[in-house]
Symmetry: C2
């Protein structure tokens, strides 16, 4: 027998070795089993309890303790060689942490010392609870600037510094509680909705706002708006520009080595007594480690709503940064971090922080990169950093008295300008125009509306896109790739040919209430167009073949679509044929199909090839009296 490679569009070829394979429903599962399966995939996709299976009780307890405190996992194996690496990297990140802590606290309109407090306690908590080996913990620029800008909407940090500090600590508590509960409730997927595109746009917008705000220190403008948002900031800048042009103090500072800048400038200020010549410095700082702050938490009063909103937004932003950084380095070094566990660790760290005079902290990208480059092996590098900061807090604070504010402004600007990622933006434009629009929305929203507003708009837009993909699923006409039994998109595969009498459509989305109207209309339009073509060629449409491999789910509305389509098609003399419905779909079709309309051998096939072969053989059989003969003739065409 010859292979059917010669088979063309007009030969109505039928394969002789035609063996039709049945579509079978999946094995029966009870509703409860299905619910369990669904819940597991939704909330426990990483199957965290797998390691406990089949272990004796004692081992289970040890594993449980190690699950809660990852330090118990790597601690016992810790050795001097690892410590040497961690010591070097810990000291390195401490040299970054001290100037950054002071600067970011300033960014959040908090006293500089709070930035140092926040680099002391949280890293210790994380070292015990965290599962990443590379994350360096501390305050970060984005969360700092968002917290500052949101709290300043209601309270002035200069007019009422105590209240401002109270609100900051309370926001930190709410951020921590929110983060921890996301982890405990295993709802970590919520942070996935802040997509890469949104974050790129958001960070660029935030960087511009912050840089403009820092013009205050850099240009020496003193009357500056406390509101975020480009227009007020720009107005303020232009309003003050003529006076600053007269006495520009410092426009640009290299911030490659923040600590060096701080040391050198502090020494300079001290030596030439520049604070007497109009250069403002930090001023006297309190000595000693973190004082308790649980008595400063405010759960009543008119600012509670703002504090909760600030906690929510800074919480989700810092969590996104921390988790993303943790995942990045874990992938780089080929180990795993558990997202939900990390959320609990970061959340708990912030709750403890809010009790000990710290504001929102997370795994910082720049600091973790330095940590990794300096050779960090475990979370001990966080401990080394923390101890270094403690020593600073206890003994070195008087040295910072002369650090000029302008250097801190420069450190901030350098940090945030680095957040603008133009190559990534170009790449997004190249690959996906809609993602670019989302990015632009986040960027412009943050610039011209507000931090929350911009983020909400961008998240809403990207969610809308997902819904639109469901509401308007693609339907694609398939054709046969000559010489094969493969059916593919006619638009994509130019060599594919249509089979006369057949309209083969592939539906590429779950079928549900949101798209049945569209699918019904669109399918009828396909049929009308096909019929118009057929009139020209004097053919008639006999079969509508729906390739269902990409229909991952149906609901009751989806089932009704099939019934409706079938009824409409019957009036046109066209038969509805389903190909490869997936487990869930075939199961529901079967349940709904009392009249046995769908689960029949002649309208349900495993592949398009088998459907076309079997149906055109049956069609031939009808139109010819000598059925067997027809088969043979056709196959030898």
């Amino acid at each position: 027998m010859e292979p059917n490679n010669a088979c063309t569009m007009h030969s109505h070829c039928i394969e002789m070795s035609m063996e039709v394979h049945q579509v079978v429903p999946p094995p029966h599962k009870s509703t409860l089993q299905k619910l369990q399966g669904r819940l597991k995939e939704t909330f426990f996709p990483d199957d965290p309890l797998r390691q406990f299976k089949g272990q004796p009780l004692k081992r289970k307890l040890i594993l449980g303790a190690q699950y809660v405190f990852p330090i118990l996992q790597w601690g016992p194996k810790y050795n001097l060689k690892l410590f040497k690496s961690d010591l070097v990297s810990g000291l390195t990140i401490a040299s970054l942490a001290i100037p950054q802590g002071i600067s970011y606290a300033k960014l959040a309109s908090l006293p500089p010392i709070v930035g140092l407090y926040s680099s002391f306690v949280p890293p210790l908590v994380y070292a015990v609870l965290g599962s990443s080996k590379d994350l360096a913990v501390g305050p970060v620029s984005i969360a700092s600037l968002v917290m500052g800008s949101m709290l300043r909407q209601e309270v002035s940090p200069t007019a009422d510094p105590i209240l401002f500090l109270q609100l900051a600590f309370t926001s930190t508590l709410f951020a921590g509680l929110f983060q921890a509960s996301l982890g405990i409730l295993r709802l970590g997927f919520i942070i996935d909705f802040l997509s890469k595109a949104i974050l790129i746009g958001f960070m660029a917008g935030a960087a511009i706002i912050v840089s403009l705000q820092q013009l205050k220190s850099l240009l020496g403008i003193t009357h500056f708006t406390n509101q975020m948002g480009l227009i007020p900031v720009m107005t303020s800048v232009f309003h003050n520009i003529h006076e600053s042009i007269k006495k520009p103090k410092l426009f640009w500072v290299s911030a490659g080595a923040p600590l060096m800048s701080v040391i050198i400038s502090t020494l300079l200020v001290f030596a030439i007594k520049a604070q007497n010549h109009g250069i403002s410095a930090i001023g006297k700082l309190q000595q000693g480690i973190n004082p308790p702050s649980w008595n400063m938490l405010l759960f009543h009063g008119s600012h509670l709503g703002l504090v909760m909103k600030t906690g929510l937004i800074t919480g989700i932003l810092s969590l996104t940064e921390g988790i993303a950084v943790g995942r990045t380095f874990a992938a780089l070094k080929n180990y795993k971090v558990d997202g939900n566990k990390e959320m609990m660790a970061i959340g708990f760290m912030n709750v403890v922080g809010s009790f000990t005079s710290c504001y929102v902290t997370t795994g910082a990208f720049s600091r973790s990169a330095v940590n990794n480059n300096a050779g960090a092996k475990t979370a001990v590098s966080n401990v080394v950093m923390s101890v270094t900061v403690m020593v600073t807090l206890l003994f070195l604070m008087p040295l910072f008295q002369y650090t000029p504010n302008v250097v801190l402004g420069a450190i901030i600007v350098t940090a945030v300008i680095g957040l603008i990622d133009l190559p990534a933006a170009c790449n997004i434009w190249k690959i996906d125009k809609f993602d670019f629009v989302v990015m632009l929305t986040a960027f412009l929203g943050v610039l011209f509306i507000s931090v929350q507003g911009g983020l909400a708009l961008a998240v809403g837009l990207s969610t809308f896109k997902i819904l639109l993909q469901i509401t308007r699923p693609k339907t694609v006409m398939l054709g046969k790739i000559p010489g094969t039994d493969i059916y593919r998109n006619l638009d994509q595969y130019k060599e594919a040919v249509r089979i006369p009498g057949f309209l083969i459509l592939s539906i590429e989305a779950p079928i549900n209430f949101a798209n049945i109207t569209y699918l019904n209309e669109r399918t009828l339009r396909w049929i009308e167009e096909e019929e118009e073509d057929n009139i020209k060629e004097q053919l008639s449409l006999r079969f509508l073949v729906l390739e269902m491999s990409a229909v991952s789910a149906v609901d009751t509305s989806g089932i009704s679509l099939f019934k409706e389509l079938k009824a409409t098609l019957e009036k046109k003399g066209v038969e509805l044929v389903l190909v490869n419905p997936l487990a869930e779909v075939i199961e529901k079709l079967k349940k709904a199909d009392e009249a046995n309309d769908f689960i029949r051998a002649d309208n349900l096939f495993l592949t398009v090839g088998e459907a076309v072969a079997s149906l055109s053989s049956a069609m031939k059989g009808q139109s010819s009296t000598i059925t067997e003969g027809t088969h043979t003739i056709v196959s030898h065409n």
Copy 2:
């Protein structure tokens, strides 16, 4: 050569006629072309301008006029035979429209005459603009009860009847404007989000509320709450029950023929002068057709928000009913209604209605069913009904003076009890448990919260389900169905076998920001589980084959997933192979793939069968020095 039917799991069979087909990207389209295509599918899936293509200008103008006024399409062909059918059906629905109009107006706490006004003007407007042949237009129970209950929240219809009427007309205007703009902006798909399941639950809940409220007339309770919601209604009933039990007037009325009930009871009341014995009747009604009401529209004052909300909700509910009824009968009689055009017609009808003392109207299900049964052929039956109502308004109003309220209450209860569709609810339970939960949410929400609250909860829940399907897409392990080249779900097809060295996964959703974290984790878990199995069998995993036929789209995050997966897999010595990426996916992969990591002949295949055959042949080739020989030996296994 033997066919490869004997090929089993352990034979590493390779087909000799192995021809590998290339995956090709779709033909190039500019961003603008893609945008046009996407916009067309989103807003013009029915391609309404298709009929205009290639027509001369004069014909285009005629088609355009017919598009706006469908009456121009069927009007010229109208004849006496059609009119006879329409006359009979028009008189039949008028006999229903009069008692229903009076009753539903009462349901909305409006004067009974407004119900008749609403059966006069809107049907005339619809006859000119509407594209359905079977829709019978008038007030409907759901919109009436929702309007009444929402407006009563702020204004009492007994204490301030004029204001209440003004709010009702203004709500009707907003409903009409909202409906028409949905149609004009082609956003009709919004009503799809009120799924069948939601409507079944909602209608059952609403029916119970209304029936309980009508106990007022039926039991003769006079002190009754005006608030909707089960608890106040029940409290009110139990509060009044002891007094009503003492003097039960009428508990049950057959409402099979509403008009007969009205006529007989009116005659009875008139004959025995029952209104003097405690039976309340409608009382004197104003004679004459609709007075203008544009001077009664209120666009200021404290109730504007309520009026807009009421317009929105009654607008969307009545639109849903009207469109669903229109589509049902169109499908039954095999003609098409244009959803967006219908929305404009219904919207314009309500705008005109609000100027002429009508409240919200739409295509009513019960009335349209009667219309269809009575043999209606065109919208002329609406005109006949309208003229009959006009005659009633002009000459017969004094006759209704004695119609007892209790009969109207019975008509309402009969109508709304018919809305409870228990078989449909059972069917939903049988097919889809989640849809049942959505239905229950709508039902309980309407009963215990409020109309808007219940609907919003149910719509939110079903939208959340769609998002969850995207956030947690199914990944399924495929196996080869013996004797074929077909790869299917191992769970569903028990005879399918796994191929050693290959892990074949099918991803059943678009890949985007919302699910890349999950997919990454889930894929790694699949690999780990596979590796554990392999250790037992002393095999090693060589290839991860991702079957992408069901991945209808990717975004930039999705692209990054592939890069990340590839990097992770390389560390494990596993190669990533993609099968049949669809047009959009292959295009984006190509744009992002500067290093040519994905678009290579050895990791991109058109079918799983070809991928497995080609790769295992290459694998054999590597492990054996005599490559050609191996091929032959293996194929003869």
